[in-house]
C-alpha cells in the first residue's frame, strides 16, 4: 500500500510538473545551441529583458517601502479597522490577472475614466511602460507586507520603545532595532515579489499593447514569438524565465531553512496567473 501511494504520487508529480520543465529546455535547444543564444541576445529579446528588469526593480522597491510602512503602522500601533486594512492589503491576491490589467485600462485607457485628461496632455500610461509597471505593482502589492506583518506583530513593540526611550531617533530605531529583526522575512518577501514581478503575464498582457521592443516584458515576448510560430525562440526565452523560477525556488528554500519556517508562506500566491 505504502509503495503504491508513493509510486502514484511520484508518477503524478513527475508527469504533471516535471515534464513541462524538461520540455522547455528540449524545445529551446531543438534547433541547436547557436540558435538558442541568438534568440536570447536578439534585439527585441534584450529590450524585453531590460523592461522586465526595470519593472521588477521599480515594483519591488515601491512595494518594499509600502510593505515596511504598512507593517510598521499595523504592528507597532493600535487603531480601529486594523483587520479591514489587512484584508484590503490582501485584495490583489483574489483578483484574476486579466482583471488586474483591465482595471488600469479602464482607468487610463482611451475610453477610460482619465482617458480624455491624459490624451489632452499627451501622456501615455496604458500601452506604454508606465502601464506595465503599474499593473505589476498591483499584482505584487501584498507580497512584502504579508511577510512582514505577522512577524512584526509577533515581535511586538517593546524593543522599539526601549530604543526611543534611550534616545534613538525614529530612523535609528528602525535601522538598528527593527531592521535586523525582520531582515530574513524582508528578503523572503523581496524574492517572492521579484519572482512574481518578472513572471507576470496576464495583467501585463492586457495593459501593454504588445509593442515589440518597447512594451514587451519577457513573458510577453515569449507569447509573441510563440504566436509567430517561432517555437524554438519562444522556448529559448522561456528557458530564461524557467531558470529564474528555479533560482527563486532555491533561494526561497534556503531562506526558509535560515528562518526555520517550514511551509509558512504559500508560494501558491506568488504566481496567480
Amino acid at each position: 500500500m505504502r509503495l503504491v501511494v508513493i509510486l502514484v504520487a511520484v508518477a503524478f508529480v513527475a508527469l504533471l510538473v516535471l515534464l513541462p520543465v524538461i520540455a522547455v529546455f528540449t524545445e529551446a535547444l531543438r534547433k541547436g545551441f547557436a540558435l538558442y543564444v541568438a534568440s536570447i541576445t536578439e534585439h527585441d529579446a534584450l529590450s524585453a529583458v531590460k523592461l522586465t528588469l526595470e519593472t521588477a526593480a521599480i515594483s519591488v522597491a515601491a512595494n518594499l517601502v509600502f510593505g515596511i510602512a504598512a507593517s510598521w503602522a499595523i504592528a507597532k500601533f493600535e487603531f480601529p479597522g486594523k483587520s479591514i486594512l489587512i484584508s484590503l492589503i490582501d485584495l490583489p491576491f483574489a483578483v484574476s490577472p486579466v482583471i488586474s490589467g483591465l482595471v488600469f485600462v479602464l482607468l487610463f485607457g482611451a475610453q477610460g475614466i482619465f482617458g480624455r485628461w491624459l490624451l489632452d496632455r499627451n501622456i501615455q500610461i496604458v500601452f506604454a511602460e508606465p502601464g506595465v509597471i503599474l499593473a505589476t505593482i498591483f499584482v505584487t502589492f501584498p507580497f512584502i507586507a504579508r511577510e512582514l506583518i505577522p512577524l512584526m506583530q509577533e515581535q511586538g513593540v517593546e524593543e522599539e520603545e526601549a530604543a526611543v526611550l534611550l534616545g534613538a531617533s525614529a530612523w535609528q530605531t528602525f535601522r538598528r532595532v527593527t531592521l535586523p529583526n525582520i531582515r530574513w522575512a524582508l528578503l523572503y518577501g523581496v524574492v517572492l515579489c521579484n519572482a512574481r514581478a518578472m513572471g507576470e503575464f496576464g495583467a501585463v498582457s492586457v495593459v501593454s499593447g504588445h509593442i515589440r521592443g518597447r512594451t514587451n516584458t519577457l513573458p510577453l515576448h515569449v507569447e509573441i514569438l510563440y504566436n509567430e510560430y517561432n517555437f524554438s525562440a519562444a522556448f529559448a526565452v522561456a528557458s530564461l524565465l524557467t531558470l529564474l523560477a528555479v533560482v527563486t525556488l532555491i533561494v526561497k528554500t534556503l531562506l526558509e531553512w535560515k528562518t526555520r519556517r517550514g511551509h509558512s508562506t504559500p508560494v501558491e500566491d506568488v504566481y496567480a496567473d
Binding site: 492589503i89 490577472p97 483591465l102 526561497k252
Partner: protein
C-alpha cells in the same frame, strides 16, 4: 479629537499609516473602483447582454466546468501526494517537495507553451494519446490539464501541514479499537483533514476561474468551444468594448470574493462547531 490610538512612544504613526492608506488607495482601491464604475455605468440591458449572451455563457460554463474538474482531480491526487510527502521517507522526497512549488514559481506563459508542446499532436504525451482517440490540446481536456498543473500546489500546501499536524494518538486509538487501515483512514483521518482539503480545493478552484496564461495556449481559444472567461474579457477589450469587458470582469471578481468569503466563513463555522465558542 477622536483618540484613534493609545499614545505611543514609538514614532511614525501618522507618516506610516498615511502613506499606507494613500498607496493602498492609489494602487488598489481606485483602480478596483474604476472597474465597478465602468461596469455599473452602463444600462442594465447592456450589462446583461455582455455578461450573459450565448458566447459569454459558453465561456462561463467552460470556465466553471474545467475549474471544477481540475480542482477535483487535484483534491484526489493532491491528497495522495501530500500523504506521501508527509508520512513516508523515500529517495527523492525532497525533490518532490520542491517540485510542488514549481507551478507557482513558473511564469504562466512558460507553463502554457510547455504544456501545449507536450500535449499537442506531436508532443510526448500527445503522440501517445492521439492514437487512442484522446485529443488533449485545443480541447477542454487540455484546459483541465493546465488548470490541474497550476492548482496542485494549493491543495498540497494546504493538506500537507494538516497531515503533519494529525494527532497520532487518535489514529492509534482507532486501530486499537479494531478499525482496519482503510476504516481508520476513511472515518478518522479524512474527516480531520476535511477543512484543509476544502480550503485547498476552493483556493485552487478560485484560482482556476481566473487563470489566463497557462490556459490560452493549450486551449485553442475557439469561441463557444474552448474560450475561457478571462480570454473573453481580453477579447472585449481588444474590440474596445470597455463596458462589456468590465461587466464580465465584475461578475468574475464578485464570484471569487464570494467563494473565498464562503470558505472563510465555512472554516470559522466548522471550527466553532468542533471547539465551541472561543471568544
Amino acid at each position: 479629537m477622536i483618540r484613534l490610538r493609545q499614545h505611543s512612544a514609538v514614532p511614525g504613526f501618522g507618516l506610516t499609516l498615511g502613506y499606507t492608506l494613500t498607496y493602498l488607495s492609489l494602487i488598489v482601491l481606485i483602480p478596483l473602483a474604476a472597474l465597478v464604475v465602468k461596469g455599473t455605468a452602463q444600462p442594465w440591458a447592456h450589462f446583461a447582454d455582455a455578461a450573459f449572451d450565448a458566447r459569454t455563457l459558453a465561456a462561463w460554463r467552460l470556465t466553471f466546468a474545467t475549474a471544477l474538474v481540475a480542482s477535483l482531480v487535484n483534491a484526489v491526487f493532491g491528497l495522495i501526494v501530500s500523504w506521501a510527502l508527509a508520512r513516508y521517507e523515500f529517495p527523492g522526497r525532497r525533490l518532490l517537495d520542491a517540485l510542488i512549488d514549481l507551478p507557482f514559481a513558473l511564469p504562466t506563459a512558460v507553463s502554457g507553451i510547455a504544456l501545449t508542446a507536450i500535449y499537442s499532436q506531436n508532443g510526448w504525451a500527445g503522440r501517445l494519446l492521439e492514437p487512442i482517440g484522446i485529443k488533449a490540446a485545443f480541447t477542454p481536456l487540455g484546459i483541465v490539464i493546465a488548470l490541474t498543473f497550476i492548482g496542485l500546489p494549493f491543495i498540497v500546501r494546504s493538506v500537507q501541514p494538516a497531515i503533519e499536524d494529525l494527532d497520532p494518538a487518535i489514529e492509534e486509538a482507532a486501530t486499537l479499537l479494531g478499525a482496519t487501515r482503510w476504516q481508520a483512514f476513511w472515518r478518522v483521518i479524512l474527516p480531520a483533514l476535511q477543512p484543509a482539503l476544502v480550503a485547498g480545493f476552493v483556493t485552487a478552484f478560485a484560482r482556476s476561474l481566473g487563470e489566463y496564461g497557462s490556459v490560452i495556449f493549450i486551449s485553442g481559444n475557439m469561441p463557444m468551444k474552448t474560450e475561457i472567461a478571462s480570454l473573453l474579457i481580453v477579447q472585449r477589450l481588444e474590440e474596445f468594448d470597455y463596458p462589456g469587458a468590465a461587466a464580465i470582469a465584475l461578475l468574475m471578481l464578485v464570484s471569487s470574493f464570494v467563494l473565498l468569503f464562503a470558505v472563510n466563513v465555512g472554516q470559522w463555522w466548522a471550527a466553532r462547531r468542533r471547539f465551541g465558542r472561543v471568544a
